[in-house]
Subunit: 138 residues, 4 copies
Amino acid sequence: MLKMTADELNEFLGAHFPDFEGPLAIVESVDDMIAELRLPYSSKHLRPGGTISGAALMTLADTAMYATLLAMIGPVAMAVTTSLNINFLRKPAAADVIAKTRLIKLGKRLAVGEVSLYSEGHPEMVAHATVTYSIPVN
Amino acid sequence: MLKMTADELNEFLGAHFPDFEGPLAIVESVDDMIAELRLPYSSKHLRPGGTISGAALMTLADTAMYATLLAMIGPVAMAVTTSLNINFLRKPAAADVIAKTRLIKLGKRLAVGEVSLYSEGHPEMVAHATVTYSIPVN
Amino acid sequence: MLKMTADELNEFLGAHFPDFEGPLAIVESVDDMIAELRLPYSSKHLRPGGTISGAALMTLADTAMYATLLAMIGPVAMAVTTSLNINFLRKPAAADVIAKTRLIKLGKRLAVGEVSLYSEGHPEMVAHATVTYSIPVN
Amino acid sequence: MLKMTADELNEFLGAHFPDFEGPLAIVESVDDMIAELRLPYSSKHLRPGGTISGAALMTLADTAMYATLLAMIGPVAMAVTTSLNINFLRKPAAADVIAKTRLIKLGKRLAVGEVSLYSEGHPEMVAHATVTYSIPVN
């Protein structure tokens, strides 16, 4: 059912974002309509207060949903985010961030998913996002 | 009425995000409840398709609202984004991105604003965000 | 350029929502990509605290964007809201609510707009919404 | 741990929204940080196309989160919604709508939750909302 494995997704992301600043998130596992990614801790992701920046969390949420979608539909690089809504819930620790995704709609032209973000080793959610993707019709 | 100038905001952002990857957005002008920022074009901001990444646009929107808020309340580094909602409207050109902000609520503990993003030299909006900030009570 | 006048929109809304509870919002004016609607005050719209309910404001925002869209594309009853994001900014007065809309994207299949809500006679915005509509392709 | 039962919540909602048009949603069950509500089918909730209106779904999502919050903090009528984001995923059937809620943050002044909406008897989600509530500090 899955069209791409975690390894294939990591290779794809690396190949298509060659100039991306700093380490991209790593796809750790993927399954039917869900995935788990990790953003390795880096001081580059900090903001005043010693917490992971909102920018890093939003980028992780967007990348995580993109990877989840590609796992289901294959390497369609042209799929584009149409909207993202994120609530920042708690101050993230200075640690890796884990993203757990779930697609809640996978249509022919539109996909909608939610992403829960956690600081590694902490049980409480630090942010929650819903992301909408437009899928190009070939 | 303004508590920080564009120059002071640029200095503040540079000092508080020393490890930030790549060039931060530049505050070009600031006035009562509004501001204009520029994200200089860089190949680092591209995604597949040769367009500016959603991550770069979201980071710009968040930074732009942060700068607008600090201009009104002074250098309160601990103000934190509580939510961000963005709609991606059109494929941005491979060019500088301009952010025009407007605070629509500035309370004692909560600020809400909207940000319109444009590719330099193009009249149509490429993305629109609403951002909510929590202001620490001293 | 407009495909429906304010009168035609009011007639259309009345005809297509015959069982709708209470008075629908009234389209007061419509122009290229913008419109203004009014929700007449009713005790039915109140919530604890004597303020207009969030439900009434959300319904008004959705109706206002629907009317703005129909004015541009004609009486396409099947256009459907795909997402709505609203920030409640201030406690509305026990008064009429005015909605001012602006379409920021009108594509063939997708429209995005923003709606600013005011209590009649008060200058400050009480809520701000962004709404996305899907347009059926015939 | 719970400060209000489903019966107490239904009584509270009925008492505080006496003029509300049509039947309010019914709290069917409530537990730690979660609840389930039902919006009984009515032709009043239909929109063109014979589907439940977005207005009815948004109102249900807002009411469901309000009930979930009150179950945790007690009958604080003055708690107010500060933002709501909803994605409409599928056309709801002409049937009861079921709302399943989950609080993902319950702070002293702010609560954030998500709501999944289903047509009774259909497994697929018809809409998904995230709702933010401000809790008055006494």
